[in-house]
Amino acid sequence: MFEIRHAEDGAILLCGRLDAVQAERLAGVFARIVTPTTIDFRELDYISSAGLGILFATHKRLVDAGGALRLVHLKPHIRELFGIGGFDKLFELE
């Protein structure tokens, strides 16, 4: 199961398992992000390259426009994947 929740402070919470099927839904939501945004990973258990690709494309678009995605509360195994993919150098991770 995968859920996208919107917090009152403007952050977006990703919850559950973000696989290639669910990534299509995420792409639709992230296409509407036009300002710097915090993505909260505290309830995300799984992500594959499909989800990472959407994060990458959104972040790159925002950086080109002077903004960025900020990623917070990544679980250790997901942070490890970011390291393998070199994404820890591309994103601000907290």
Binding site: R17, D19, A20, V21, D45, Y46, S48, S49, A50, L52, G53, F56, A57, H59, K60, V63, H77, L81, I84, G85, G86, K89, L90
Partner: protein, 139 residues
């Protein structure tokens, strides 16, 4: 024991694929963290076959086994053109954002996670086999 199942060659099969994998983890006592890594490997390989190996729509065969302290996963794609993993460009994980390309990440993650991977192609059948050495707590 080798578990084998066929899945329609489409991204929407992933839910069934994960169900099959989770049954394997439960029966073999493979812990959650290792299971997540193995699921990622299968998802990346399966979706690559769906997206790039489009010569046939035959179902993809997935075989799973655990033996001698390692998990063995095999995907078989029949009546397809040759897939050359060496032709997939390596991801430059040190490239700055402006120069970073989005493609190739899935195979890069797979290679980093597994301990052995082989691609065999014969008689228009592609077999991708991976081994992952398990932690003592998985064995």
């Amino acid at each position: 024991m080798v578990r084998e199942r066929e899945f329609p060659k489409q991204i929407a099969s992933l839910e069934e694929v994960f169900g099959f994998l989770e049954g394997f983890y439960a029966e073999e006592g493979i812990r959650t963290r290792t299971g997540l890594s193995l699921s990622l490997v299968v998802e990346e390989l399966f979706t690559n076959l769906v997206k790039y190996n489009t010569a046939s729509r035959n179902p993809i065969v997935l075989r799973l086994s655990k033996e001698d302290g390692r998990a063995h996963l095999e995907l078989v794609d029949r009546d397809v053109d040759r897939f050359d993993p060496a032709a997939v460009p390596e991801v430059d994980v040190n490239a700055p954002l402006a120069e970073r390309q989005p493609g190739g990440l899935g195979l890069h993650l797979v290679r980093a996670i597994v301990d052995r991977i082989t691609f065999a192609y014969q008689d228009r059948v592609l077999r991708i086999a991976v081994d992952k050495d398990l932690e003592p707590s998985d064995v």
